[in-house]
């Protein structure tokens, strides 16, 4: 059995993987910079917490509704985001994050500064899930997210997003409905964040506005960029490395945040594509390695062919 501490760390990393993958849809595939992803995680967490503690819903419908509500709010907030681009979009999404955090913090219905407590772990067949079972639930959600990610990336939706990401005007001129694809990206990405938020709320059992602030958005975006934006492996590896970093660097507690900042800085300076991006050293190096091995194999094959003749 895994120790309780390890399970807790793994669950946290797992939730970050879902967040990073969902942000990757918006920023990686559709190319729309979002600095406010934690707000949608917060919407999911608060939806789930309120439905559970005030409306008497059980976890499962609350979990699904958290995704739906976060997706719906994402779709609505995508509309102001459609009017702005690039740097304006980055700051608009940052602003949305600050405003949504302020709503949680100042409106008594959302528990204001005290947050919401008394959210229990989910139960299945009348039995409350233990930590290991909760980890299983997180893993299943990650697998579903990956499946959805693969399906989207390979469908014409993924192609549409790629076209918008590379050149929005050209995509529009080719007859791609830019507005619809952008709204779709924001909706799906936000829904994923909502599901992660619901898991987060039922894992921590209490939530506070500060959990969903701008700093959290930066953490999620850093994971996506760190691993390699626009790929499937990148956000997963980014979430694992940066999610484990606070635990690994526990001996250097005092310098933990400093290391984090310097790591981001150096990575962007020397590996701007992330550690596993398509143009990163690791990926290019392994491709070269594979290619040379294949070449060796090809020459020996040719050699055999010759001797056979």
């Amino acid at each position: 059995m895994l120790s309780g501490y390890l399970v807790t760390v793994l669950i946290t990393i797992g939730i970050y993987i879902i967040l990073a993958l969902s942000l990757n849809v918006i920023t990686g595939y559709a190319g729309q910079i979002s600095l406010g992803h934690a707000a949608f995680m917060g919407i999911g967490a608060y939806t789930s917490a309120l439905l559970y503690t005030k409306a008497g819903f059980s976890f499962w419908p609350a979990f699904v509704l958290a995704g739906l509500v976060a997706g719906a709010v994402g779709a609505i907030l995508a509309i102001p985001c459609l009017r702005v681009r690039d740097d304006f979009l980055a700051i608009t999404t940052m602003g949305i994050n600050f405003v949504i955090e302020a709503v949680f913090l100042y409106i008594p219905f959302f528990g204001a500064g005290m947050g919401i407590g008394g959210i229990d772990a989910p139960s299945l067949l009348g039995k409350e899930l233990g930590k290991s079972a909760f980890l299983g639930l997180v893993l299943v959600t990650i697998l579903l997210t990956i499946a959805a990610d693969r399906w989207l990336a390979r469908s014409w939706i993924g192609l549409g997003w790629a076209a918008i990401r590379e050149d929005e005007q050209a995509a529009g001129a080719m007859g791609i409905d830019v507005v619809r694809f952008k709204v779709l990206a924001f909706t799906l990405g936000s829904a994923g964040a909502g599901l992660a938020g619901s898991l987060y709320a039922h894992f921590l059992t209490f939530i506070m506005p500060v959990n969903f602030g701008f700093a959290q958005s930066i953490v999620i975006l850093s994971m996506v960029v760190f691993g390699g934006i626009g790929t499937l492996r990148g956000p997963i590896v980014g979430a694992i490395v940066l999610g484990a970093l606070p635990e690994i660097s526990r001996p250097a507690m005092e310098y933990r945040t400093l290391l984090y900042g310097i790591l981001l800085l150096l990575l962007m300076r020397f590996q701007p594509d992330g550690i596993l991006g398509d143009r990163s050293l690791v990926v290019r190096g392994s491709q070269r390695l594979l290619r040379s091995r294949r070449n060796v194999k090809a020459t020996t094959d040719n050699g055999q062919l010759k001797t056979g003749q």
Binding site: I33, A90, I91, T92, G261
Partner: protein, 285 residues
């Protein structure tokens, strides 16, 4: 009472103006969202405290703060941003956030987590205009801001270097083809913008009589909102938006006592304005 609030608003707006001005100048030539600008602002405050403790003069500490920040700005531009400019916008943005986090932590580790006093005695006449009275520190902030804005305006509009700076921010390639060393101009822009942030940090340090590691956290993001509100890269727009937000913030606390988060106001204003003017108040599309 209301005049008191207006005086506070003017002082707040002046500090915002100094900070956002640097940010918008840097955006104008580099097209990067320089989040670490607020780290430079905090650096200015720390440099000011150190210089004040060893010299005992506020004016010396102000000059030292500006010089230290100008140097920091040049180093950032040369070693961090310049190699990243051809990459997608998100790369310099994340690098800047990383630098900002590292700077805040460096301040905490070097100078300690607690606030340092910056108790420069300000011998400065307090200004009065009818019922509007600015206290001595407020007058100082306002006067220094006006002075620096005036100098900047002279530089940009009346000198050859200023002409080159404006031309570079409009179209660097064409400017370069006219024989202007645009690399130098970009660096100069960064130095001046950072020096202004340093002045803002030193002034706010004296005004609040404290300097602490995360003093840049809120300005870092609020100033981005103000810059966008004014129109990214637009200098008069930034100044206008800074004073509007400074006044709105203090008046809202003083008069309408609604529990509205002060620091979210700039973002609400920005989002509302962007809905109708996607390039900000004075930005051109």
């Amino acid at each position: 009472m209301i005049w008191q609030q207006i005086a506070n608003g003017i002082a707040t707006g002046a500090v915002y103006a100094l900070t956002t001005l640097g940010l918008t100048m840097i955006y104008g030539v580099l097209r990067v969202l320089h989040v670490a600008h607020a780290g430079v602002y905090a650096l200015g405050a720390y440099a000011g405290v150190v210089a004040f403790r060893s010299s005992g003069s506020f004016w010396v500490s102000l000059v030292v703060a500006m010089a230290a920040c100008a140097l920091a700005g040049v180093l950032m531009e040369r070693f961090l941003y310049a190699p990243l400019l051809h990459l997608p916008r998100i790369v310099p943005l994340i690098a800047s956030i990383g630098l900002f986090i590292a700077m805040e932590e460096a301040f905490r580790i070097v100078a300690g987590p607690y606030a340092l006093a910056y108790d420069a005695e300000i011998r400065f006449p307090s200004l009065a205009l009818g019922p509007l009275r600015l206290s001595a520190p407020q007058s100082l902030i306002f006067t220094v801001t006006l002075l620096l804005l005036g100098l900047l305006w002279l530089l940009l509009s009346r000198s050859t270097v200023g002409l080159a700076m404006r031309a570079t921010s409009m179209d660097a390639d064409t400017t370069s083809s006219f024989g202007v060393n645009t690399r130098m101009i970009v660096t100069l822009n960064f130095a001046i913008g950072s020096a202004l942030a340093g002045a803002a940090g030193a002034l706010i340090g004296v005004y609040d009589n404290q300097v602490w590691p995360t003093m840049g956290s809120i300005p870092a993001y609020k100033c981005l909102a103000i810059v966008v509100l004014g129109g990214l890269g637009n200098i008069p727009g930034s100044v206008l938006a800074s004073f509007l937000i400074g006044l709105a913030e203090t008046l809202m606390i003083g008069i309408v006592a609604i529990p509205f988060p002060r620091d979210a106001l700039a973002f609400v204003a920005m989002i509302l304005v962007l809905m109708f003017r996607p390039h900000g108040l004075l930005g051109k599309g």
